[in-house]
Assembly symmetry: C2
């Protein structure tokens, strides 16, 4: 099989991405020397991809116009000229957004051990779960027994972050959109859930703190920015730490979005706000892998996921659905069985 | 002498403080047992005092209505029933805003050694200089050779902070209001100065960086908030640190002031913003005292100061002048010779 389809960026977004930014194109894939061809089983769609579609992205290389998008995918080697990667090997790599990916050995990020669910490497056991762990553990310095607020808690990172915090004996409050997601989060062990669509977040967060019998937050893991970050700052206790992971609320903005109006509290309460990019922390990956493998095996963490599309021709629609917040946990596109 | 005058708070401010918030009242001071009476030579006026006049201050106890204000002062013991504090001892304490202060021994914060300028304990060698040092050293983790931006650099804390950074071999840019203050700052060794009244701070800061041959800031020491903090965030490099010390630009506001609109950069550039209160860091005071005493002695740091008023009846006017930004360096009120 040498014909593959791939999703190419043909225009850059202004504000919310739209279906016409990409086209699905047929292309020929040859294995050649020192490479493998991988048939992708599933690929990840993530909020950060929106940023990379823009020309002015700051934390990563922009996607090139006319070229296929990239992102994490898992697949099975179907042709190989590399001895260590025989046909049948299941691998994780970053050349998603296509049916067949031609990879050099150094582009294979991991081989999936027998018995490991390949999809877990897109979720709890992958960059997604690692982001949650890095933010809570390395950036925010979470301690057992603390009170934690996680914004966009039903998102891929948030749903794992909440479970990691629970595994450390913390009290966990999460925000999400809509009561159905709230039920899912309670099922994952969250102590309290806020529906950010149901009213002012600041008041909801106050109620949630009262419901769990706490006076303040020690740590916030923020994926949203805007009103939710401002509400978090309002309810942080002295020496609280805020890990800034994302700012979904601002990604569509075509003009600057006002920041939190209460940063003065950061002085009075000695708060630390710290942004991070997970790629900086790869040295800690083995420690995370060991821990998360154990947590998944013993059920401490479950890997929540939603299939947002089936087939490469629907992949971008799946990405847009993920941005609309339609899914809970890790959003992935199925590409083959 | 047992008659003293003191400045009492009789109303709480809404927005900018006004002269009618206080009254100057005569009162009798008796030494009694286990106490000293101190004739104050000079007292400090500082921006944080505005916050404490409000009922809703968060980081300190509000000043009580009907009671004298407090703040740092230096004075000479004129009556004593404490063996360790004989008449003539010069002391630092926190019961300023009055001509005579009755103090218990535990209210005496320091005895001023012979040969030390008592006013230095209100400035570079006091809480003011300690605040500058804590913010740069303990909070921002300043390293030699880095590029530093100091907002309100002509203020008491800023003017010392800039010199401390220079002493560590850093390149230092400061912001202030007006060209006269800029000249003072250049005289203190600042490499570049921005007049925040002269145009958009973001553009001025870009020019200043170009003028000193640097592409970005490593550390910002922020006393101002608002536009200046936003401009600083814009020009921070990867892993930059921002010590949040004050937010003069917001103190007068009667409604919430928009925060920096570019906090997303804090993620992309892995920035850390951290608020601090100097009182948390007293354990490091001996190390600071040793260093600053040496820097003052060898001229590495000069203690910039302005007498903003002479006499307790003019003290509050001096406080208001300091808020108006009329002075450079430490603002103090002379109370006696």
């Amino acid at each position: 099989m040498t014909i593959s389809r791939e999703v190419r960026l043909v225009a850059r977004p202004e504000g919310r991405p739209t279906p016409d930014l990409v086209e699905v194109v047929e292309t020929e894939v040859e294995c050649g020397d020192d490479a493998v061809v991988v048939e992708n089983l599933a690929m990840s769609v993530e909020p950060y991809m929106q940023g990379r579609m823009s020309e002015h992205v700051d934390y990563a290389t922009p996607y090139a116009l006319g070229q296929p998008l990239t992102g994490h995918a898992v697949g099975r080697v179907v042709a190989s000229s590399v001895a260590d990667l025989p046909e049948g090997t299941v691998v994780l790599h970053e050349k998603g957004w296509r049916e067949l990916s031609r990879l050099r050995p150094d582009e294979v990020q991991a081989q999936v051990p027998d018995g490991t669910d390949p999809l877990a490497l897109l979720g709890a056991l992958g960059q997604t779960g690692f982001t949650a762990w890095v933010g809570l553990t390395l950036v925010a310095g979470l301690q057992g027994g603390e009170t934690v607020f996680i914004t966009s808690a039903a998102g891929a990172v948030g749903a794992v972050a909440g479970q990691i915090a629970k595994a450390q004996g913390c009290t966990v409050i999460g925000s999400c959109g809509g009561p159905e997601k709230g039920e899912v989060l309670r099922g994952l062990g969250f102590d309290a859930v806020i529906d950010h669509r149901a009213g002012p977040v600041r008041a909801s967060l106050k109620e949630a703190l009262a419901a769990v019998g706490r006076s303040h937050l020690d740590v916030t893991f923020d994926n949203v920015g805007g009103e939710q970050l401002e509400a978090a700052i309002r309810h942080m206790g002295d020496h609280g730490r805020i890990a800034l992971c994302g700012a979904i609320s601002t990604y569509d903005a075509t003009s600057p979005v006002p920041g939190p109006r209460n940063l003065l509290l950061a002085i009075w309460r000695r708060l630390r706000l710290e942004g991070f990019i997970v790629g900086d922390h790869q040295a800690h990956r083995p420690r995370f892998d060991e821990r998360m493998t154990r947590w998944l095996a013993d059920g401490t963490v479950v890997d929540p996921r939603t299939e947002v599309a089936d087939g490469i021709e629907h992949a971008f629609d799946g990405f847009l659905r993920m941005l609309d917040g339609a899914s809970t946990g890790k959003s992935y596109v199925r590409l083959a069985d």
